[in-house]
């Protein structure tokens, strides 16, 4: 194994290796930053290029994209309240207020550092778990996935901070929307109004582009001026503050990374749920809950470490059984097949050297992306000083292209626009937006896995407490819900 790693390292350190890695990293940053485009789109575009390459060189290119794309999306999340990708949606909560206060540099510094450290921790977790990956993938079946989805839905209640009722209303609407489309269990269409497009349900990514990018652009153009209120503040901001903050808040970083790697490994949940759970766990464990949503740097560290650590996690089911843990992994499996590898249980035995190259590239890219990001942060922060009359058309145009590019579908663009208006109304009426996205993602997962679990158990509900992993997750969910109550009760007692 060590020999393989050194071999891969030697190959990476050649001009060719570094060129591919850097190219992948730059593409990842760019595709991450543009709302709507993401890792899957970037990889799909790169597939033809990798066709003629030696497999390990192809892995450098792909590792570059995987390692950098999540951080790319955080830049626009912080600066423009517009997450580049779904997993960056939680970063806007505190990242954007920081930018408005002129602390964009610190926020980007924190995001970059948390991303690269989170990514590296994700890889460490992946490597540590690899020998038992099989057992872990097999330990998680429909009952466990259902409880995990439930845990995610419960987290909505914690994350709504002061707007509990509104948060729940929004989540309820999100759940209803998640049931549109062909029911995965019965195969029958529901609420599709006989409209072909709705058979696949409401697409999450266009909905997200609307809720965050388009609605924010409407909001900005109504408001006018620039994103950052104070020109001077942006200039004196210290990136170093952000970097140091990550080390100072290391429990947040570790928790975020662990949650990210864990949720990343669950097929279908992915980065959005990972970063959202990391964020809500951080809020629920904090004694200073009121400061979140107003520019608390921990609110940037938690989701950013989680959404980079999730790649390490997502590789676990992909490498162990050929089950893609995310959209990116689905495309990545195509690359493996193109190169004559069989994604599945034999991959780690037959193609070890290629996987080692990928893991190495992924780790280096996490750091490289952050270094590039930090080097550019000072200039990137100036975006917050651009007049919205210039900014808005550019962002709206790229967001529309992003919505279309995903499936070459005009309907997706329409969905983005509808959710854009909806998102703007929600902003105006102070309804939180992320609960809707989380419910939209988790509603289907929860329903499908519940039905599967009950089919497996012949309708016995006890299946959820008979299986040790499922039972543990139920206890965790209860603890997650009880924690804030317990802490505040203890605090009250102590103050008496």
């Amino acid at each position: 194994m060590l020999e393989l790693s050194l071999d891969a390292l030697a190959l990476l350190c050649t001009v060719k290796g570094l060129t591919f890695l850097t190219a992948g990293t730059l593409v990842g940053l760019l595709f991450g930053a543009i709302p709507g485009l993401g890792g899957a789109t970037a990889l799909a575009l790169l597939i033809p290029l990798t066709f003629g390459m030696e497999p390990r060189s192809a892995m450098f290119l792909i590792g570059g994209v995987l390692g950098s794309v999540a951080f790319g999306g955080s830049i626009t999340a912080i600066l423009l309240n517009t997450p580049g990708m779904a997993p960056n949606a939680a970063t806007v909560f505190d990242g954007y207020p920081m930018a408005q206060q002129g602390r964009a540099g610190a926020a980007i510094g924190a995001a970059a550092t948390a991303s690269s450290l989170g990514g590296l921790l994700g890889v460490v977790i992946l490597v540590a778990i690899m020998p038992v990956a099989e057992a872990i993938v097999l330990a998680f079946g429909p009952p466990e996935f259902f409880v995990l989805a439930l845990l995610g839905l419960c987290a909505i209640a914690v994350s709504t901070m002061g707007h509990t009722l509104r948060g729940l209303v929004v989540a309820g609407v999100g759940l209803l929307l998640s049931y549109v489309g062909v029911d995965a269990v019965s195969g029958l269409p529901r609420y599709t109004l006989d409209y072909e497009y709705l058979r696949d349900g409401i697409p999450v990514i266009p909905a997200l582009i609307g809720l965050f990018a388009i609605s924010e652009m409407i909001h900005l153009s109504v408001k006018g001026g620039t994103v950052a209120a104070d020109r001077e503040m942006v200039r004196i901001t210290r990136i170093r503050d952000g970097i140091f903050a990550v080390f100072k808040q290391y429990p947040t970083l570790l928790r975020g990374s662990a949650i990210g790697a864990f949720i990343g490994a669950v097929p279908g949940l992915g980065g959005t749920v990972a970063s959202f759970l990391a964020y809500s766990a951080t809020v629920s464990m904090s004694r200073d809950k009121q400061s979140f949503g107003k520019g608390n740097i921990q609110g940037v560290i938690a989701p950013e470490s989680a959404n980079n650590a999730k790649d390490g996690g997502a590789l676990i089911p992909t490498l162990a059984f050929g089950i893609p843990g995310s959209a990116e992994m689905g495309v990545f499996m195509g690359v493996l097949i193109m190169h004559g590898m069989d994604p599945g249980p034999m991959l780690l035995i037959d193609s070890k050297e290629v996987i080692v190259a990928l893991i190495l590239a992924l780790s280096v890219a996490c750091v490289l992306a952050s270094v590039i990001g930090l080097a550019c942060a000072r200039w990137l922060a100036l975006i917050t000083l651009v007049d919205v009359r210039i900014l808005v058309p550019i962002v709206v145009a790229t967001a529309m292209v992003g919505a279309y590019a995903l499936h070459s579908s005009v309907e997706d663009v329409v969905v983005a626009l509808i959710f854009g208006v909806l998102g703007y109304l929600m902003t105006r009426l102070e309804y939180p937006k992320l609960p809707m996205v989380i419910a939209l993602i988790l509603g289907e997962t929860a329903e499908r896995n519940l039905a599967q679990a009950l089919a497996i158990s012949d309708g016995r509900w006890s299946i959820f407490i008979e299986r040790p992993v499922s039972l543990t997750l139920i206890v965790l969910t209860l603890a997650f819900l009880a924690f804030p109550v317990v802490v505040s009760t203890l605090d009250r007692r102590r103050s008496r």
Partner: protein, 313 residues
């Protein structure tokens, strides 16, 4: 009146002339190839491999550009291809099986598989039935002997249902799985007891000792998996007809000479030594078939599935 007729004739002649020259020059611009799956799947991999060679043999320095149109269980891409202009600049992969079922059932669709202009076949795969390696089930007879519904994870109910009905064992399909490797893993995990899947993507699971096959319905794999009873051994040769087909097609009514150019280009592409070398390395074999042959396969599938109509849903 006379003048009017003259003009009509002149316009018609000019139009014909243009059409003829367009045909002679085909292809003059890039060709779009629609794929019914997201990037990364088997359809995409085949299309990606073939596209540059198609372009090479069509000549004129054009490109064959891939467009992924996943959605609605292949319906979206199939409809888009069916309703495209039949000018040879939009072609696409059609997956027979999943697109055929709604048509057999009589759903209102905006495509008709009988009417596509077939260009040829890239590949096909038959199916196999497998169980967990340490399962006490070792044959179809064992499945029958259980005398109770067998838990069967799959993406949908139809294919497991067809095999169960033909071979005569009861099943309880657990749907909602996202793909082959997902439901095979479910069998390894113990969510279900048996699966039906293409042998090529089951290979890794067999080689690593996680599952074993108990019946094989694609004779090409006889050598690779010796000793497994085949469709003929089981007395059900008709089950060899249940295949996933990767077919290349154009919209209905594509002009004959354009179709012929595409047919020839596809034949030459598949015969290209470079592409053959890739096919061998990637273990993605090609099974080319003429347009006539494809039509026969499609008609055969309609005929085969007709009696199983009530199993759909």
């Amino acid at each position: 009146m006379k003048a009017h007729r003259w003009i009509t004739t002149a316009v018609a002649a000019a139009a014909l002339g243009c059409a003829a020259s367009a045909l002679a020059a085909y292809p003059e611009k890039n060709i779009k190839l629609i794929i019914p799956t997201p990037p990364g799947g088997g359809f995409h991999v085949y299309a990606q491999a073939v596209a540059p060679y198609l372009a090479k043999y069509l000549g004129n320095d054009i490109k064959v550009v891939l467009e992924n149109m996943p959605g609605s269980g292949f319906r979206r891409a199939t409809s888009a291809l069916y309703n495209a202009k039949p000018d040879g600049y939009t072609i696409g992969l059609v997956g027979i099986g999943i697109t055929l079922l709604p048509q057999v059932k009589g759903d209102k669709l905006d495509y008709d598989l009988h009417k596509f202009t077939w260009i040829g076949r890239l590949a096909y795969d038959g199916l196999a039935i497998g169980v967990k390696k340490d399962s006490p089930i070792n044959s179809i007879a064992d499945l029958k002997a259980l005398n109770r519904p067998i838990k069967w994870p799959h993406t949908q109910r139809f294919y497991p249902g067809v095999f169960a009905a033909a071979l005569g064992y009861p099943i309880q399909v657990i749907t909602g799985y996202k793909g082959g490797r997902d439901y095979i893993t479910a069998v390894v995990r113990g969510d279900g007891e048996a699966f039906v899947h293409v042998p090529s993507s089951t290979r890794g699971f067999i080689k690593s000792g996680k599952v074993k096959l108990i019946a094989l319905f694609d004779d090409r794999y006889k050598k690779e998996f010796p000793g497994i009873p085949t469709a003929d051994d089981l007395g059900h040769p008709e089950l060899k007809k249940v295949t996933t087909e990767r077919l290349l097609a154009g919209p209905p009514g594509m002009p004959t000479d354009i179709t012929q150019k595409l047919v020839t280009a596809l034949e030459k592409s598949i015969a290209d030594p470079e592409l053959q070398a890739w096919s061998k390395k990637a273990k993605r074999p090609f099974q080319p078939l003429t347009p006539k042959g494809v039509k026969a396969v499609v008609d055969g599938q309609f005929e085969f599935f007709e009696p199983f109509k009530k199993l759909i849903d």
